[in-house]
């Protein structure tokens, strides 16, 4: 059981490392005149169109209501820091697996949950800024039912209607794998902890 827990922990690390290759998040925009869809993947270090040209087309649409262009890698500190965090956490997972102490697995799990939550919060702040910090000279200025400037905040997760677009925001494959990895670390802790307790009882 101890070995199995170690394997799970290594897997947790490897699944985390998948973020170097696979996107964390995906945002899709759906409208009738975009039959092929329009969307973007959020990677830890850059944004990518679901199809070539999608980022450019999202920018063209957004500029009418005054939204800023989508960030380039150099525009956001997150794109520099996230790869470092992911790298460190991957290495830690493997080191912890080698050491094999249940408390370390739990520590890794807790740190990941905290980092993940912070990441999501940071993502929300960005979405909020992106959807509300609008160019005052935008050609199209809309107001909500109370007369306040319209907000174009995409959903953090799930679905939202923004003008003529249905916007969907969900974890992409990398994000899902990361989630599984975090879960695996908790299972690894649980298995290793049980084995340790059993071992102690046997010793007693």
């Amino acid at each position: 059981m101890k070995t199995f827990a170690r394997i799970l922990m290594v897997l947790a690390g490897l699944l985390t490392a998948s973020l170097f290759f696979l996107p964390m998040w995906r945002i899709d925009l759906v409208a009738p005149q975009y039959p092929d869809g329009l969307g973007m993947y959020i990677h830890i270090d850059h944004l990518e169109g679901v199809k070539p040209g999608d980022l450019k087309n999202i920018d063209i649409l957004n500029h009418y209501v005054g939204m800023k262009p989508l960030p380039k890698p150099e525009d956001m500190w997150e794109f520099t820091v996230f790869p470092i965090v992911v790298g460190v956490m991957t290495v830690l997972a493997i080191v912890f697996a080698l050491v094999g102490r249940p408390v370390l697995y739990l520590t890794w799990f807790v740190v990941m949950v905290v980092l993940g939550s912070l990441g999501l919060y940071d993502f929300y702040l960005w979405l909020y800024d992106y959807g509300t910090n609008l160019n005052p000279e935008a050609p199209i200025k809309l107001v909500d039912e109370y007369g306040n400037p319209m907000k174009y905040i995409p959903p953090l997760i799930g679905y939202k209607q923004l003008l003529n677009f249905e916007v969907y925001s969900y974890p992409a494959i990398g994000g899902v794998l990361l989630g599984i990895g975090i879960l695996l670390s908790l299972i690894a802790f649980w298995l290793a902890y049980k084995t340790q307790v059993k071992h102690k009882i046997q010793l007693a």
């Binding site: 092929d36 070539p52 040209g53 450019k56 087309n57 063209i60 009418y64 050609p139 199209i140």
Partner: protein
């Protein structure tokens, strides 16, 4: 009493109106096949909103010089591709990029006469890469790339006049053929017309097609006797390596042909073993002849057309290549020359006859082997008619013209004089069905109907006369086409649809063989146009004396720059406009007041150029002509034009901020 009488009159008037209203309706029901349920027929051509047709059909636009793209079974028109013709919608042959495409050895030709489309083949099956079409008047062959649905190459055929037996491809698209309808002196020279006989030639041109790029080059010209070569089709399967041409006017009449060219009981189908001639030429055979012909190439990277001049061709005297050319006697001025999917049967439709003559390829080989030569004409052996004959469709119809095949053992022939399409069985030569068409059908088309693998579901009849088929539009009418369902034993007429004038031949292909390869945009990173501005950072204005080049961009919803100053009367201003969009179906147009050349419509990622020569000082607007976005109306700008001797500095701006470099050379 009086009232009652009035009442009766009124009732009678209504009755008359109703009766009168019924008359034409009844008649048209009869025309359309009568008993068949209209709703069930409608269902068979109905393509619901948003759904796609099953086939593409490329219909020649005849004297318009264009090619139209329709969907089948709906008959809907999708696109008109300019080929041998200037085109207002696309600026084709008007803008700086494409004007070289209309160049010939006779100079710039605004439009020609487009006849026969044929789709490229691999192993005898349609491969959906290119459509080849011929120009009859000033002999040329064009290639259309089905990734873009645009003409990418036009090659002029020297030593030819009336390029009618064209542009048919061999089964691996090794060659596209081009034979002359009008015999002419080769090379051209000043001589009395009435000395035509024996002195004119028919140059059968074989154009080599590069299997990767599609690029065409004239491989060789076979100088056949000076008859009129009408149509052609390649051998396939067992007869691959041969090309068959019908001929008329073997009388070599130079005047009053309707009588003088109809005297011989039989003219010939020329069977040309091109593999043998290819080998002869590869071994150094043939003579080089000096010529001048234009070869126009549209470079998809630079997005510019250029003309290269062909100065030499290899001509082959068929008498020097024994066994390369035979004549098969075929009754009554044969027009269509069609080869069945197996490659065994060569159908020659004697247009002045009621019979259809079918030759057998294997019997032809046997006749050659056994030396069944009945005559020699200008050194070409004429084979015994009975030795090559496979069969005759007796009393088929009047004026049989063209034959297509359904791949299920049946052939369909159009009959001009009796205005009908007949269906007959290969091998037993019996007519099994016939259906009237409206009116006077020329070509017919079954998708893949002249390949090893026809798709025998639909047949399109292209008619020469329209008359009363559609709402009248004055003396000049659209052309009429009719769609038939040929999947059953009997032909069922499904649809009338109008086409551009005049659809000679057409080519059809299942949409699935084409759609996946069709481009949606031109990727900006692949744009190598010498005057492209691939982002607003690359915008500039360059003056070279009186010539001013403005490198300009368009994106929803502005031009960059949109204010231009420092232009003077007497300048020749080139607007090189690049569409920065990379989104499917977001073209921008560019138009400026008083543009004598053209407006342009620029696809995403493309660059096009308009030349503008301002005549008087002033401030002139330009704008986007294609409704591109919610702020399309705002997509506009101004050019300031100063007197010729003014010293207003050159300035390009966007939002009152300088944008791009100002260069004076």
């Amino acid at each position: 009493m009086m009232r009652k009488w009035r009442h009766t009159v009124l009732v009678s008037a209504i009755a008359l109106t109703v009766l009168h209203g019924c008359g034409p309706k009844k008649e048209s029901a009869k025309k359309n096949g009568g008993a068949l349920d209209k709703a069930s027929i409608a269902e068979r051509v109905y393509v619901p909103p948003g759904e796609w047709d099953e086939f593409y059909a490329f219909l020649s636009g005849g004297f318009s010089g264009q090619l139209s793209v329709h969907g089948l079974p709906s008959g809907r028109l999708f696109k008109i591709i300019p080929v041998f013709s200037v085109d207002a919608e696309k600026g084709w042959c008007f803008n700086e990029e494409t004007k070289a495409m209309c160049m010939t050895s006779y100079g710039f030709i605004p439009w020609g006469d487009l006849h026969h489309p044929d789709i490229s083949q691999t192993n005898g099956e349609l491969d959906g890469r290119w459509v080849f079409v011929n120009e009859n008047n000033t002999p040329r062959v064009a290639r259309i790339d089905l990734r873009y649905f645009e003409t990418v190459e036009i090659i002029e055929i020297p030593n030819s006049a009336g390029n009618h037996a064209s542009a048919f491809v061999t089964e691996n698209t090794e060659y596209v053929v081009a034979n002359t309808r009008f015999a002419v002196p080769v090379p051209q020279r000043d001589m009395p017309i009435n000395q035509m006989k024996g002195n004119f030639k028919g140059a059968a041109t074989f154009i080599k097609v590069d299997p990767e790029t599609g690029r065409m080059s004239i491989a060789f010209q076979v100088l056949l006797p000076g008859f009129n070569y009408d149509l052609a089709h390649p051998g396939r399967g067992k007869s691959h390596g041969w090309m068959f041409f019908t001929s008329y006017n073997t009388e070599e009449a130079h005047t009053m042909l309707e009588v003088n060219a109809s005297q011989n009981d039989k003219d010939y189908i020329a069977a040309v073993n091109w593999k043998k001639i290819e080998e002869y030429v590869n071994n150094g055979g043939g003579k080089k002849m000096k010529v001048k012909a234009a070869h126009n190439i549209y470079d998809e990277k630079t997005q510019m057309a250029r003309t290269e001049w062909i100065t030499e061709v290899i001509v082959v005297d068929p008498r020097e290549v024994p066994g390369a050319v035979y004549f098969l006697p075929t009754p009554k001025s044969p027009h269509g020359c069609d080869v069945d999917p197996s490659g065994e049967y060569i159908v020659g439709s004697g247009k002045l006859s009621a019979d259809i003559t079918i030759h057998s390829f294997s019997k032809m080989l046997k006749a050659i082997e056994e030396g069944k030569v009945v005559d020699t004409v200008y050194g070409i052996p004429v084979l015994d008619f009975n030795a090559t004959l496979a069969g005759v469709v007796k009393n088929a119809c009047l004026g049989p013209l063209h034959t297509e095949f359904d791949g299920k053992g049946y052939a369909y022939t159009s009959c001009f004089i009796t205005s009908e399409v007949i269906k007959w069985k290969l091998g037993d030569w019996q007519v099994v069905d016939r259906h009237p068409v409206y009116y006077s059908v020329g070509h017919i088309m079954i998708p893949g109907g002249n390949s090893r693998k026809p798709f025998g579901k639909y047949l399109v009849a292209m008619n020469k006369i329209t008359k009363d088929r559609f709402l009248p539009t004055g003396p000049e009418l659209c052309q009429s086409a009719q769609l038939f369902d040929i999947s059953g034993d009997k032909m069922v007429m499904l649809l009338d649809f109008p086409t551009m004038g005049e659809p000679h031949y057409a080519a059809g292909i299942p949409a699935e063989k084409v759609v996946d390869r069709v481009a949606k945009i031109y990727p900006l990173e692949e744009n190598e146009h010498p005057y492209a501005a691939k982002s607003e950072d690359e915008v500039k204005i360059v003056r070279k004396g009186n010539e001013v080049h403005i490198y300009m961009t368009m994106i929803r919803s502005h031009f960059a720059p949109d204010n231009i100053e420092g232009i003077k009367v007497g300048d020749k201003v080139y607007f090189h406009v690049t569409n920065l969009e990379q989104d499917f179906d977001i073209p921008h147009g560019f138009a400026i007041i008083g543009a004598n050349t053209a407006e342009v419509l620029v696809m995403p990622g493309q660059t096009e150029t308009v030349v503008w020569e301002p005549k008087a000082p002033g401030v002139y607007p330009f704008y986007c002509t294609d409704f591109c976005s919610a702020l399309h109306q705002e997509m506009q700008g101004y050019v300031r034009v100063s007197p010729a001797d003014a010293d207003v500095p050159m300035k390009i701006t966007l939002d009152d901020k300088p944008i791009g470099e100002v260069i004076i050379e």
